[in-house]
């Protein structure tokens, strides 16, 4: 087990509860409400764009004949990807007894749940006629119709909804002891709502015993889900025979990319959050270093996949593959490709230097660029392959319209809004776990 102390040495138990819990009591001040207003505006703009599309039809989006999958699907993959590191940090690191997860796992889990919600919206918008979205589910219906189980897009329905259910349960169950603390501190309607989430928690020995078992089981169940969900997302592409999509490495490549982008997003969120709530003694620079190392590892796997794809396209001697990859690097979308290489492959290499990985400010900047790079990665894969497939007659480039951007902006607003509300009303750090680690080392340690 990792014996390092990840918290400030002077930290005491009372400090943890007060520091975290008092955030919910305090008036967050004007900037908080201004930010909420801004996110609200973004959501309204997104809804306006979506509504325009519903009224006028999919034609208002920039999708055209070869490029039938526009940035709606780019955004879908982007958000699902971000949803991955939450479970990684909560579940996989828990199973691996990595103690540094303790004070950041709650934030990562919240991020997961909110990002999956945002991701789930896009396929529905993308397929059009959103009011028939329930047709995606196999239910006994009067028309005796059955969903097309051969379609990977339908596999997504099952994969993503399973993932959303398990990660939401994991999130809510994990918060029970902390919610009980909040319930005891508040009266009235707010206390009642906290009580609802505490689910009758009294902190007895028996309850803790069941809780620990449930937590371990959820962790063990969520781990294969992390792999499976993004594998299936990657197969949306890899199952087709389009050059640039049909590639056997896609599943591990996308899983690594998802964890990469998710870790970057955790850093992006953690840095301002720590500053605003002054959580420096709970979320230390060591946490950032560990996150950066994870980012570096996944960045290397992603870069390995980029290289492999290019090499095999050349080695395989298939002219369509070769043309696609040549076009990807030097065609119309070439600049995006090189920007992606810079953000995802070259920039993270600087994390090899200790000076950089122990400086949260620089890591924050890197993580911002990685977010951009990972969005571009999905753009490059999806759009450049579609726009330039087998038949030169059908080639056509694609530019997203303001409607498509608007919906994306709306989901960014929605994600941040949910996150801000979460920070305002719930404990951002898992109090019971941090306390346990400071004093008894009960969690994140031996678990059998």
């Amino acid at each position: 087990m990792d014996k390092e102390n990840y918290f400030a040495p002077t930290l005491t138990a009372d400090q943890v509860s007060d520091q975290v819990l008092l955030q919910s009591l305090k008036n967050p001040g004007k900037p908080f409400y201004l930010a909420l207003a801004l996110f609200g505006g973004m959501i309204i703009f997104g809804l306006y764009c979506l509504f325009t599309q519903i009224v006028k039809g999919l034609g208002v989006a920039g999708m055209n004949n070869p490029v039938a999958w526009g940035i709606y699907l780019v955004n879908f993959v982007f958000w699902v990807g971000i949803a991955h590191s939450g479970t990684l940090i909560s579940a996989i690191l828990f199973l691996f007894r990595s103690r540094w997860r303790t004070s950041i796992n709650r934030i990562a889990e919240a991020m997961t749940v909110f990002a999956v919600i945002m991701a789930g919206i896009f396929p529905l918008i993308h397929v059009g006629r959103i009011w028939f979205a329930y047709w995606l589910f196999p239910y006994p219906n009067a028309r005796m119709l059955w969903v097309n189980f051969r379609s990977p897009l339908n596999w997504d329905v099952f994969a993503v909804s399973t993932y959303m259910t398990v990660s939401a349960l994991f999130f809510i169950v994990g918060m029970m002891p902390d919610m009980a603390v909040l319930r005891d501190r508040f009266q009235g309607i707010r206390g009642k709502i906290y009580g609802l989430f505490a689910m009758g928690w009294r902190g007895t020995h028996k309850q803790w015993h069941h809780y620990e078992t449930a937590y371990l089981l959820f962790a063990a169940l969520a781990t294969p889900l992390v792999i499976s969900v993004h594998s299936i997302v990657s197969w949306d592409f890899a199952m087709s025979i389009l050059p640039g999509w049909h590639s056997t490495i896609f599943a591990p490549y996308f899983v690594a990319g998802a964890i990469f982008s998710g870790t970057a997003m955790v850093i992006t969120i953690l840095f301002p959050l720590r500053k605003i709530f002054k959580l420096e003694n709970l979320i230390t620079d060591k946490h950032f270093t560990r996150l950066a190392q994870m980012m570096l590892l996944t960045s290397l796997i992603v870069s390995y996949s980029y290289l492999t794809e290019f090499f095999i396209a050349w080695y395989g001697n298939n002219i369509y593959e070769q043309a696609t990859f040549y076009n990807r690097a030097f065609g119309f979308y070439g600049p995006f490709f090189w920007l992606m290489i810079f953000c995802n492959s070259l920039l993270p290499l600087t994390i090899f230097f200790k000076k950089i990985r122990s400086n949260p400010k620089i890591l924050f900047l890197i993580s911002l660029l990685v977010n951009v790079g990972m969005w571009l990665e999905r753009f490059v894969i999806i759009i450049s392959s579609l726009a330039h497939d087998y038949n030169p007659y059908a080639w056509k480039n694609y530019t997203p319209t303001y409607i498509e951007w608007g919906v994306f902006i709306g989901t960014i607003g929605g994600f941040l809004m949910l996150f801000f509300l979460f920070v305002k009303f719930a404990p951002v750090v898992a109090i019971s776990e941090v306390k346990g680690q400071i004093f008894h080392d009960v969690r994140g340690g031996e678990h059998d």
Binding site: M1, A238, M239, S240, I241, T248, I249, P252, Y304, N317
Partner: protein
Amino acid sequence: MNQDNFILKNSRLIVLAFILLGSLFTVIGALSANPTRMWQIYLVNFLLWTGIAQSGAVFSAALELTNATWGARMRQVAESMVFFLPFSLILLLLMIFGADYIFPWLSKVNISETKKIYLNLPFLFGRNFIGLTALTILSFAFVNRRRMADQKKNERPRSLAVVLLLAYVVVYTIISYDFIMSLSPHWYSTIMGMHFFTACFYTGIAMILFTAVFGRWRLFPENFMQDNDFHDLGKLVFGFAIFWMSLLWSQFLIIWYGNLPEETEFLQLRLFEEPWRTISWLVIVFGFITPLVILLNKRGKLNQWVAGSVASLILIGSFFHLFVLIVPSLMPHHFTFGLMEVFVTLGFLGLFVLAQDIRLRKIPIR
């Protein structure tokens, strides 16, 4: 404790006999009417044992980088396997004699001029020799410096661990392209490299478990590995069984669904035509289903006999995994498994055990 108690004593003769018989059969096979039969099993064994030996160092480097202290005892077992690596360099060079029988693109199958830039004999052996030499040096350097660091003689070799892991991934990817993928010269799969180095690592940790159970009277003091070691190792093997299968599945599903003739030929032969079909299923049962079912249970991991038996099945599965990747490409319609295959394999096994024995005489586990 007298260190002679836990290294090969009387059984050294058996090991030497294995090596002698193995070399004898190698020479007979190389000079026989059908040298392909010998060279293909030679290649299978070369990849299997080199992969196992290399993953010993890789396992230790991974523990170093993740600050994991739970593997302090089992990493010594892992590191004792590294001594086979110099032998494997010689074994690689010996394959030059069999190149004509191993690589169909040399004479039997036409490949395009562009492919010849990559697939030609001097470049192929050159890059693999340089790569494996570099890995051998890195592995030895890492293992030594790690041991010294434990005795507080130098810093922990973290940078060396990073370099070792990166080199491992690159070199083993190239090996998989050269010695597995290129045997079906028109076939390609992007996951091949990742699948191969994961498989090697998986086999390596199965070997650690196997050695920990069956080698403990000879190789290291009794009760050296404890219950929680076996528990951790069992979990690791269990996890890698699933991961290995998920990569195999990713490759299969995409090729099956895409149904492109240039891709399916490889799977068609191995999954739908006898006898390869039976062997493929055997690999899946031994390498995936058995550890999945048995090691899921805590008792399965803690009972050393059960865990050790699972590990030996995984090792057999890994052998046949490489067998079914390589042999059908070279002799698609002949299946032979006789004395030749058995003795060449035993020869490699003997060499591996001898190398481990030499290392343990020098640096006993404690």
